[in-house]
Structure formats: C-alpha cells, structure tokens
C-alpha cells in the first residue's frame, strides 16, 4: 500500500512552496539539474517489454549525451507502477512535489499513462509516453505537456488488420485486455476491419494478466470467426498464442492476429509457434547498421535485444535533452515548444515530428515472424514486409478530437 512512497522528510520551506506550482526561472535549470523519471512495470506482465530495459535505455541516452546538459548533471530515477494507475499517479505526484522530476517517461500501461499524464498536466510537467497504446492520450484526454512517442492503437491495426482482411480474414472475434488500452485497440481495429468490408462477430474481455485463456479461445473458436484478434500485449499475448496452439485453434482453420506484439514476445514463444505471425512495429533492431550497433550495446547491458518501446525511451530522452539544451532551460512550456519545432532524427526515428496533440508522427513497419529455418541467430526473428508512412499510421490533425488542435 505504501510501496509507492519513496521519500521521507522534506523541509518546512519546501512544504510551504508545495502548494504553489514549482516555477523554474525562465533561464537555467530548476534545482540545478535535470531529473528524468522512468515509471514502468518492473515486476509484471509488461516487465520484459519495457521495465528495467527502459532504465537501461534512459541511462544510455544520458551517457551518449555526455552525462550533462548546460554543465549540470542529469539524473534518472525509476519506480515500479505495478500496472496500477493509483500507484503510478501517487509515485509521479511525489516525484514532482518532492524530487523535482522534470520529465517522466516509459509509462507502459494505458491506465497508468492516462492517470500520470492527467496529473502532469495539472502540475505542468512533460510526459513522454513510450509504452502505452491508447489514442486517448493524444485525443480525448490530450495534454499540452503530454507526448505519445512510439506507437498508438490507431497505428497498430493500419498495417496488420488491413493485410489480414485482404487475405480473406473478413470475420473477426476479439479477445480484449480489459482496460483502457485493450478497449482502444479493439475499437480502432474494429473500425479498420469494417472500413475494409469485414465484420466483427464477437468480443470477450479478459482481465489483464490472465494465465488461462482456454475458455476465451473456445468462445472465439465457436463464434465462426476467420480471425481471432488479440487486443492485448506482453505476456497476455504470449499466453493466448501458446494456448491456442495447445487447443489446435490455428490447425482447425482460424487465424490469430496479435495486434500488439514485441520482439521479446516472439523470442519467448519461439519461432516454431510464432512463425508467420504478422504485426506492426516502430523499430526493428537489425534493420540497418545504426540500429544494429545501438541494439548490440543495449543487449550487452540488458541481456535481451531492445523492443520498440525501449528503443523509444532512448530516443525520447535524447530528444528531450536536446530540447532542454536548445531552449536553454528546463521550464516546461519552453521545452515543449522546442520539441514541437524540432525534426527528430536518431537511430530510432527518421524525420519524426511532434504534433500539437502530442502525437509523435513517424513511419511504422509491418513485419512477419520468420520461419525457424530462416532465422540466423537467436534474435534474428523478424522480416519487414512493408513500411507504413507516418501520415497513414497516425490520426491526422484534421480528424483529431484533441481540444489543443483546432
């Protein structure tokens, strides 16, 4: 219950000032350093896709930046949000109130992401969400200080669902992770399927972190759908696909569509089970020499190749620091304005732009898990099928429902 409390005593003076928003001077850095908070799932269902790896990525970014900005130290602190939005929010609240955190990143899990972004909006702190998927972050609940960096539930189905419907998968049944992210992914995917002339024949909501998907899978099987859409992520997706294999779902003629799959999931399922699985991603570690070099470094420290969201943390932190340097201050408004002007180019993103609603617009890739015979090494798992240009992947500003856009 009190796990999220990180810090003990604060001076009387600091306490009195808590009530007021922490105002940094227009020039220079608040409390003489830049502090970055990595708030992630360190122990649960999303641990392997972000978690400790995100801390590694953030530290690499700081190291590559030279360890300091404007002559002042850059610090990282991290905590486990346990996939609980209340714990996420109260950790973030204490970080902002008593630790002077300037930017919060990772925030895998949309419930946590939304609650922290909401709080950071009140407190005027930048969040760079790399891990969560829900489009609500940049649409209904968009924030002037909230940036959604790696992917969203609009971008995911564009490539994957389109490809599946084209291949004859007209009737869809969803198994949905029962919270903000799953609902958003299911609805967005359903829209794509319908717009292509397909239909959604059923849906079942499964709690986050379900161990036994068998009864959901049997419902999906008896629905007569062509495709079983998995609107979940991380270990949930892995469990569902493995159990579908146990119950011979695919062999009985239905297709599985993992709407959000990470390379670590494919690795833990093994290509024997995963082969042929198509999904959308923002990053493929062995795509070119630059990504390869960075990923090998990451692998040496972390012991696994980076997922798109871990690579995203590296890029987000790097560009945040660049913006602080260029703005000459860590004051939130100035840094956010600078981030909006910049064109983002690094090993993760080419020509990325941060839109007024906070969405980072960049190209995505439709990939396929290789056959075991095609794989040349432990982590050589994916083949790029096609590129999805940024303007197709993300919601255009004309369609955006965000109040900051129009």
């Amino acid at each position: 219950m009190f796990k999220h409390w990180k810090q003990g005593l604060v001076s009387a003076v600091a306490t009195a000032s808590l009530a007021l928003p922490l105002l940094a001077s227009a020039e220079g850095l608040s409390d003489d350093k830049v502090k970055i908070g990595v708030l992630s799932d360190m122990s649960g269902v999303y641990k392997s896709l972000e978690g400790p790896g995100a801390v590694v990525a953030a530290k690499m970014a700081i190291e590559d930046f030279g360890g300091e900005v404007m002559g002042k130290a850059i610090e990282v602190i991290s905590a486990d949000h346990q996939n609980k939005p209340d714990i996420g929010a109260s950790t973030a609240r204490e970080w902002i109130d008593t630790k002077g955190v300037d930017m919060i990143t990772a925030l895998d899990n949309s419930s946590v992401g939304l609650s922290v972004q909401g709080l950071a909006k009140d407190k005027k702190i930048i969040t760079m969400n790399t891990g969560a998927g829900s489009t609500a972050l940049t649409e209904e609940q968009c924030s002037p200080y909230g940036i959604h960096y790696v992917y969203d539930t609009h971008a995911l189905p564009v490539g994957t669902a389109t490809a599946m419907v084209k291949n004859g998968g007209k009737k869809w049944f969803f198994i949905t992770a029962d919270y903000a992210f799953g609902h958003s992914l299911r609805d967005n995917t359903g829209d794509v399927v319908k717009s292509m002339g397909g239909e959604v024949v059923g849906n079942v909501n499964a709690p986050l972190s379900t161990n036994d998907f068998s009864s959901y899978l049997l419902q999906a099987q008896s629905s007569g759908a062509d495709v079983i859409g998995l609107a979940n992520a991380g270990q949930d997706t892995v469990n569902a696909i493995k159990q579908a294999n146990q119950f011979r779902i695919v062999q009985s003629g239905q297709k599985l569509a993992g709407m959000l799959v990470f390379i670590t999931d494919v690795h833990s399922m093994g290509l024997e089970i995963a082969q042929g699985l198509q999904f959308t991603t923002a990053f493929v570690w062995n795509q070119n020499e630059e990504t390869k070099a960075w990923s090998d470094r990451f692998n040496k420290i972390h012991g696994a190749m980076p997922t798109m969201v871990q690579a995203g943390v590296y890029s987000a932190v790097t560009n945040y620091l660049k913006a602080v340097k260029e703005a000459g201050t860590d004051e939130t408004e100035a840094v956010r304005a600078k981030l909006g002007e910049m064109t983002l180019n690094d090993m993760f993103v080419k020509g990325g732009k941060i839109a007024p609603n906070g969405s980072m617009l960049h190209d995505m890739y439709l990939v396929e898990a290789k056959k075991p015979s095609e794989s040349e090494s432990e982590w050589d798992l994916l083949r790029v099928i096609s590129k999805i240009p940024a303007d197709q992947a993300y919601i255009s500003m004309e369609e955006s429902k965000c109040s900051l856009v129009n």
Binding site: H4, S43, D178
Partner: protein, 306 residues
C-alpha cells in the same frame, strides 16, 4: 490519564506534521489510521475478525469519486455519500456474516468483499482497471480551496479527529461495554438478556461506516478511486496495523498505521522484500507480541503504578 496524554501527543503531532513531512504522505497515513481504528472497534472490542474491510474502504472511494466527479457534489457531500453507501453495505454484509462465527465469519466477509472487488472491476461507472481518475478536490463550503495541500491536510485531520471521536465515544458507552461483555463470553451475555446478534450487527455497521469514511477521504486526497483499495491485501494490511499497534487499545491502531506505513515507505526501495518483512512482523506479532506496541506500553505503565 494515560489516554489524555496520548491524545494530546496525537493532537500536537497531527497539527505540526506537515511542517516536517510530506503532507500527502501524512494524509495517507491519517486515512489508514482512521481505517484501522474502525477495524479495531470490530476486532478489538467485539471480537469479530472481518477479512473484508477493504470492500468498505474501497467501495466508499468509488461512490465519493463518482458523485463528485460526475454529479458535481461538493467534497464534503461526496464524502458523506460514500460513507452513507458503506452504512448500507455494512448492514448487508453484517446481516449475512454474523450468521457464522469465528473463522467462518472471517471467510464469509472475505468472500463478500471479493464480490465487491469484482463488481468494482466490471461495473462501467468504476472505470475497471483504469480506476476513477481525476476526482476534483473542489472547495469546502464553497470557498476553501482544497487544491492547496495544507488546507487539504487540515481538512483530512479534522475528519480523522471526528472519526476517532466517534469510535472513542462508542467504546466508552454502555453499548461498548456490552460489546466487550459479548467478546469475553457470548453465552453469558446472551443469558443476561442481551440481543447479541443485534449488538454485533450494530458494531459491524459502525465499523464499516467509519472504514468507508476513511476510504472516501482518501479518494478526495489522491483524486483517485482504484481497485487497490478494495483488494483483499488491503484488508490484510489493516489487520496488521491493528495488531502491531495493539488490538483493543484506543490508540493502538493509530500507532500501528503510522508504524506500518512509515516502514513500508522507508523500505520501498527493497521491492517485494517489504511484503516479506510485513509477513514476518505478522508472524512475530501473532506468536509473541499479541498486545502490540500500545498494549505493551500500557502494561508497563500500569505495572509501574502498582
């Protein structure tokens, strides 16, 4: 006499706490302290072990959150609504649970609380896993802005004192005496002509209502109502707080809540070891330290007097 000194200490400590500690953290402690006091009324004075008190703590938070956020209730009215809800819920739980005794009573309350947990997970108005976010702190009496963390703090402290006062009065009333008589020897109380079931039920309802008051206040402090509060682990934590502080003592639960809260807080860097440590404290308390901190202190004080 001892009680008066302890009360003065608590009052001074509570009034000055925000000067040396992070106010939001102290508010969290206060909510748990009130929760533990309410729980203690039932276990310490009526001898009933409820393993489902999180249902009241968490349930009230949802109701308060919903009415303030969606219906625009003022924070005070919202807290009253949440507390009123647990009054009814406590009545239902109590009615069902007091049909069984001892460990059965514990299992029944646990299972009933689990229904509330799953309802909170599945009903649309609670937001499920997302929880109820962005609950406004609003203004007290229409002009005191609770977004200011010191104002909020003293508001919470006042609620705590009121809740504590109600419990204190209950324990030291004739009703409280009968409860303790029932705890000591139920059949004797029965033969003396007391309607034991009604006394138990009333104790259960009071305890549930005040647990709800604590939960409702917490929702306003954190602007959040979430599943964590309704989870059985929270029921376990409140038992631990009461046990550590001193079962059946007036100030024990307050001391227990602060001890357990501060401990978890200081040890939070050790991850799941916190749980191991709390579990160990649990075992130690049950095996050799059944009086708890305040209980031991009172024993020493009384021995000196003799």
């Amino acid at each position: 006499m001892t009680n008066r000194i302890l009360f003065m200490l608590m009052l001074i400590g509570g009034l000055t706490a925000p000067l040396f500690a992070y106010p939001v953290f102290v508010m969290d402690l206060l909510c748990f302290a009130l929760f533990a006091c309410a729980f203690n009324l039932l276990l310490g004075y009526a001898g009933l072990l409820s393993f489902g008190h999180a249902a009241f703590f968490g349930g009230a938070a949802y109701i308060t959150g919903y009415v303030t956020k969606e219906w625009g209730f003022s924070p005070l009215l919202g807290i009253l609504a949440g507390t009123g809800f647990t009054l009814v819920l406590g009545g239902i739980f109590g009615f069902l649970a007091i049909r069984r005794q001892g460990i059965y009573f514990a299992m029944v309350t646990l299972a009933l609380a689990q229904i509330v947990y799953f309802l909170a997970l599945q009903m649309p108005f609670t937001g499920g896993e997302n929880g109820l976010q962005g609950i406004p702190r609003g203004e007290l009496f229409g002009f005191i802005d609770l977004n200011h963390s010191l104002t909020m703090y003293y508001f919470v402290f006042t609620i705590f004192l009121i809740g504590f006062g109600i419990i204190y009065r209950t324990i030291h009333s004739p009703f409280g005496e009968v409860l303790q008589a029932i705890r000591e020897n139920e059949s004797r109380a029965l033969s003396l002509g007391y309607d034991v079931e009604r006394f138990k039920l009333l104790a259960f309802v009071i305890s549930a209502t005040l647990a709800g008051l604590a939960g409702a206040t917490k929702a306003i402090v954190f602007q959040f109502a979430a599943l964590t509060n309704a989870h059985w682990q929270t029921s376990g934590e409140v038992i631990l707080m009461t046990l550590v502080g001193g079962l059946g003592t007036v100030f024990g639960p307050v001391v227990g809540a602060i001890t357990v809260g501060a401990l978890s807080h200081e040890l939070s860097a050790f991850g799941s070891w916190v749980q191991v440590i709390l579990g160990t404290i649990f075992v130690v308390c049950v095996m050799v330290f059944r009086r708890g901190i305040v209980g031991e202190v009172l024993r020493l004080v009384n021995r000196k007097k003799d």
